[in-house]
């Protein structure tokens, strides 16, 4: 008899496609939260597989902090154009200008937390009832307890103590008016799975994931990209470094790593030998032990 066992990557792919199709069947107005980072790119690729030969049946939504890497924005626009996907951009700058969000001050000011305001506003404006996110359970301890179908109340809040049990392949997306869901199709993937999949499927990713020369400076052991977004302290000095980014977020909260990786194969090898967590270079998680938990409860991704 033939071997009818899937490899773990194929099984994860199949599970994620199943989740995306459940979403499309159970919700009226879904959207894919698209940051231009590798996890949301994988979600987009999976969505293409799930609905081919149709176009994906939901728009891409980007919450733009205004502090994004230029390369990410270019990539986002080109991807949407290439596949004929609708792109909606929610602007944190606009939320600030309208007085709905207040900019943080000081050397470590970041717009990361402000994203929640713009995200919830965008959800309300377009009446989205489910937003797909590329969050993975292996990233962080609050995320380890997330569901595939994560219920949010009318304020967008997550209640970790009161989640719906998820059994077998049965996802309960029922909700009351004004409530919505966050859907996490790649919950069960690890950072390594994502990179292996990108390699296996030959998925395009933004150039800053590969090594490049960039003006950087070091603060508290983290390598930052030098830009107008982060003011330098007097003792900090800018130098050219050979770096790449392991995750892509806001310039103000994404650290770079020294790297020589120029190909996907080399990135995979680097990920395999690295001994520090991916979110170790995310300054947004370092604010307190429960930083992610608090942001999620407030309606963050």
């Amino acid at each position: 008899m033939k071997n009818h066992t899937l490899t773990h990557l194929k099984e994860l792919e199949s599970e994620s496609i199943f989740v995306l199709r459940e979403l499309a069947a159970q919700f009226e107005k879904p959207a894919l939260l698209f940051s231009g980072g590798k996890d949301s790119i994988v979600c987009f690729h999976l969505a293409r597989k799930a609905f081919a030969p149709s176009k994906i049946p939901f728009p891409l939504v980007h919450v733009d902090t205004g502090h994004n890497f230029e390369e990410t924005i270019t990539f986002r626009d080109e991807l949407a154009k290439k596949y004929g996907a609708q792109l909606i951009v929610g602007s944190v700058q606009q939320s600030i200008d309208e007085g709905k969000a207040i900019e943080e001050k000081g050397f470590s000011a970041s717009r990361n937390i402000l994203q929640t305001v713009t995200l919830l506003e965008t959800i309300e404006k377009y009446k989205f009832d489910a937003c797909i996110g590329g969050a993975r359970r292996d990233e962080e301890k609050a995320r380890a307890k997330e569901r595939f179908f994560s219920h949010r109340d009318e304020f967008g809040q997550w209640d970790p103590k009161n989640q719906r049990p998820e059994l077998w392949n049965l996802f309960n997306g029922r909700k009351h008016v004004a409530e919505h869901f966050r859907i996490f199709p790649i919950s069960n993937w690890t950072e390594m799975d994502v990179w292996q999949y990108i390699l296996q499927e030959n998925i395009e990713i933004p150039s800053i994931y590969f090594t490049h020369e960039r003006e950087c400076f070091v603060r508290d052991g983290v390598i930052y990209a030098h830009s107008h977004v982060i003011p330098l302290k007097p003792n900090e000095k800018v130098e050219k470094m050979q770096v790449r980014f392991r995750t892509i977020g806001d310039i103000s909260c994404t650290g770079a790593v020294l790297s020589k990786a120029t190909t996907l194969e080399e990135i995979v090898e680097e990920v395999a030998s690295t001994r520090v967590t991916e979110r170790g270079s995310r300054i947004d998680d370092k604010r307190s032990e429960a930083a992610m938990e608090d942001r999620k409860k407030a309606g963050y991704f």
């Binding site: 009818h4 490899t7 599970e15 069947a25 292996d138 059994l167 077998w168 049965l170 001994r275 520090v276």
Partner: protein
């Protein structure tokens, strides 16, 4: 990680397991040990728990801290919910459903068990088989977890004595013989000291069996899925409405069991319409065959009316189409189950309404006796009930197929999932 190779990674399979133990059985330590000894722990994570252990004045680096969860949990010193953990060895990728031992044990364990290939049941060597052990074993057998691994933990605290292990093994076997369990393994371990977890123990030369990691890496899982009864619940209908794919009508779904091939004679249930599989698609690929648990899209030779909730099966092997089912139900909510109560029922991709016709008996989860005069079904209770649905559903027995034999019940007022049922 030194043995890492991309080629190897791409051929690994996936084992999902759940861990069950009562409070202080050393479950967190065991998971921490598996993560640490498989080198799945990053330096920054290890440094953080080392610092915390030192601050608390603990003698060892407390590996249990690796599974520490939410702030609310740390504050209350309890685990609230199922947490998922991941690790990989050169042979396999693993997903652990880490379920809390104490409060809401049944609800959480049932959730973790529903998709597991294997369950690790922990027993404290000093305490032996206790009520909790029996409950966990019962749930594992009820949910039909294909493989059980019974770990007698804390062997270091009983001087690694063989007779302690043997007695526990005998006690457990006597109990487990009453249940339907196919594959059970016993191991003497110390999660704290690392005996027989990843490294073979130097303290128990009387034990000739494998280590826990060896078992996890080598348990055969290909037969955990039903390969004979082909079932395809239609999840979503794909109609591109574009010039290029003007007449394309694809039925998207995840194969719940068995194998489908191009050209297979199929029947759509409950309607009974027949056709043949014209193509099996996945993005730019057309496949000759597809099997569980693949997500694919079928196109058919004839144009027939098919929508979400229908099931495509092979014509020569059909499941039951019915409006009346008996299920073993695990109740997941504080609010009681009501006879004559109406609920929303989810089965594969089908949503129907249903009414509870009868509560036949409740299971006393400690003695496994059927209690017929207690119809009071509340959180964590398990009972046999009869249900009638408003329209037909296409079912197999849970013992034959976990995917087409399972249901959930949803409270229509609160929208909360209140029951998990296995069709008898």
């Amino acid at each position: 990680m030194t043995e890492f190779s991309t080629a190897g990674y791409l051929t690994m399979d996936l084992l999902r397991f759940t861990t069950a133990g009562s409070v202080d059985d050393g479950k967190s330590t065991l998971i921490g040990r598996l993560l640490y000894d498989s080198k799945s722990i990053f330096e920054d994570q290890y440094e953080a728990i080392r610092a915390t252990s030192e601050k608390r004045g603990e003698e060892y680096v407390n590996l249990a801290l690796l599974t520490d969860g939410l702030r609310a949990e740390r504050e209350q010193g309890i685990t609230i919910d199922v947490a998922y953990r991941y690790f990989a060895t050169p042979k396999r990728k693993f997903i652990i459903a880490d379920t809390p031992g104490h409060i809401q044990y049944t609800r959480n364990m049932v959730t973790g068990a529903s998709s597991a290939n294997a369950a690790i049941i922990l027993i404290d060597a000093r305490k032996g088989v206790i009520e909790q052990t029996m409950r966990h074993t019962y749930i594992a057998s009820l949910l039909r977890i294909p493989h059980l691994i019974v770990c007698v933990n804390k062997m270091d605290l009983v001087e690694y004595k063989e007779d302690v292990f043997k007695k526990i093994k005998n006690d457990y076997t006597a109990f487990a013989n009453k249940l339907e369990i196919n594959d059970v393994h016993f191991l003497p371990i110390s999660a704290l000291k690392g005996d027989n977890v990843v490294e073979a123990s130097k303290n128990m030369d009387w034990y000739k069996g494998n280590t826990l990691m060896y078992l996890l890496e080598n348990i055969k899982i290909e037969n955990d899925i039903n390969h004979s009864d082909a079932r395809f619940p239609v999840q979503y209908v794909i109609r591109p409405m574009s010039t290029e794919h003007h007449d394309y009508r694809g039925y998207a779904g995840r194969i719940a069991a068995g194998v489908f091939k191009k050209g297979d004679a199929i029947t759509v249930l409950p309607s009974g319409h027949a056709s043949k599989i014209k193509s099996i698609d996945l993005l730019d690929n057309s496949l000759e065959e597809a099997f569980a648990p693949m997500s694919v899209t079928f196109t058919l030779e004839n144009e027939i009316d098919i929508s979400r909730g229908d099931m495509i099966v092979k014509t020569d092997n059909q499941p039951e189409v019915t409006q009346e089912i008996d299920v073993m139900i695990c109740w997941l909510a504080e609010k009681q189950l009501h006879v004559n109560g109406k609920y929303s029922l989810k089965h594969t991709t089908k949503d129907v309404r249903c009414i509870i016709k009868e509560i036949q008996y409740k299971i006393n989860i400690n003695t496994l006796e059927k209690v017929e005069d207690d119809k009071n079904i509340t959180l964590n209770d398990i009972a046999r009930i009869s249900i009638k649905t408003t329209s037909p559903i296409v079912v197999d027995k849970y013992s034959k197929n976990r995917n087409t034999g399972s249901i959930i019940l949803i409270d229509e007022a609160t929208n909360i999932t209140v029951g998990a049922g296995m069709i008898i």
